[in-house]
Amino acid sequence: MNIYRTPYTISDLRPHDFRNFRGLLRHDFVILFDYATRFPEFSSFTSHERNMFYRLILAVDFVLSSSFYSYKIGQAHRQMILTNGEFLCMDPLPMTGNEPNARQYFESEEDFSKYQSLMPLNIAIWEESIVPFARLNPTFEEFCLLKALTVWHVTYYKFTESGREKCRRQRNIIIDCLSKICHNQGANGENRIGELLMSMNYIMQSTQRLTKHYIMLTFFDVLNCDAMLHEMLTFKY
């Protein structure tokens, strides 16, 4: 069993290849669908609610899982660990592609365009979410509960009234559980819960940024995305 509670060890990691990066792939969708179906009351959602719930899990997972992996196995070398096991060195921060004369570092216009599309987003998520999340020193249990809570919270307003009722119920259960864990860990448990819940500010902000960015990327067909990703991002409420 991986001592870091991550799917990758340090030796599994490989450098990020932006040229061949295509976003989420088919197996990612399958894994995350399995994750979604394990949520309590998922089977009682309407079809629309299940759709929304699953889509937002994809976005939340990208940000939060990357944050957790980076904290666990990327922190020592200031690396951002993506959910596909690739890493990006973030010290010093990589160029965004918008610098003067940045084009000269790329072999082709296509490479340059793709780099410019992807790297600013990665840097933004790193600065906005990954660095502050690592500062929290979250445990695996806190990470799991926080991710579930974020999913429930970010989908809340997309639900029907009955869906919101289920969401409120599940949120309260998770908050209660988180509270017990934090208070069991020592004094100032309320501060710990507060910090974890306040971290949802930047996590949801990054999630929103990611979603919008990928909508643009798929619209302009910058990435050679999996068809499923296109479908995810073109869903209408």
Partner: protein
Amino acid sequence: MKREAISAIQFERDPVGSPTSGASMNGTPFKKDRASPGYEIGGNTNMGVNGSTGQENMRNATSSSSSVIDALMEMEARVNQEMCNRYRRSQIFNMNGNGEANGAQVDPVLQQAAESTGSSAFAPPNRPCTTEDLNEISRTTLLLMVEWAKTINPFMELSMDDKIILLKNYAPQHLILMPAFRSPDTTRVCLFNNTYMTRDNNTDLNGFAAFKTSNITPRVLDEIVWPMRQLQMREQEFVCLKALAFLHPEAKGLSNESQILIRDARNRVLKALYAFILDQMPDEAPTRYGNILLLAPALKALTQLLIENMTLTKFFGLAEVDSLLSEFILDDINDHSTAPVSLQQHLSSPTTLPTSGVSPLTSGVGSVGSVSSGLTPTGMLSQTLAAPSAIHPLQKQADSLLNGNFILEAKPPMLE
């Protein structure tokens, strides 16, 4: 039920890493190294071996938390008083275009309403909001926000850049939070200037305000007002939420030293909020505490929408964007070549809201000092805003607070 919830939330990429394994799930504490400089454990609430020492610590912690909330409440009351003085009088005396009171046309209904609502922050809203109303109230709200911020420790200890970062990060949230809390229901957002915005109240507004409000007002009502009403949020909880939204250590560009100071201050507010809820509703304290804090991410998401709307409004020239709003919300934080001059000038001047002798957000038990008795809120605010350097060069004279539109004569001190 709760254990089932945890076990169902399986870590998807690691089938071996079941959350049901490990001692932590059955309540046994496990050690975790938290050497991060930003995270503190322990503090001044550790229970001692001696029960009396522990009880004393608990009393000290409760007292400290109570003083934090008391001070925040006091600051809030002062801000509300300023708003009341400004807008209640504007309803009593029917102002003409130059802002001169027309005593012959005092509206008795409004006067009675204003007098009868002496304990509320503002008179009941009586007309839909116009574009001018929105601009004006936003400007006033932001100016008072600066004064309020000056009283929050450790704000005044920060560098000018860090102060501006904090204010700019918080300003859009403030514009949403303040009217949201005062709104009685989810049919309309009530503003301090006795106007309101409904979900569909965009037909009479011009491009700017329509753009600004059309997709925000319904979401504010659903995502902020409704949860507040459902929770029956108290004023004490609201002022803590405001302070927590303001004290954002992860704001982009903050120096490391400021982050530590702000994080410490935020932790004190968190502790105070929890202590208050625990005292009021011990059975549902954890969930209530969590549900109040969950308003923060929703608020942040709405501020993004507000910023986008205003950016597009300015970009497409749909309407004039108020200069102060533009400084707070639209200007690039990292672009110091266009540093908000008037904002810096406001920050450089001393606070116009009376401050306590000891800031409750400093460590340890602090007592709330007496209010300076020689100054009145309105007089002090006027002095700050009356400084020539405080007026933005683009501000119209007619809109200026300097020309005495809504400035009252000096009143006796509030506390004697």
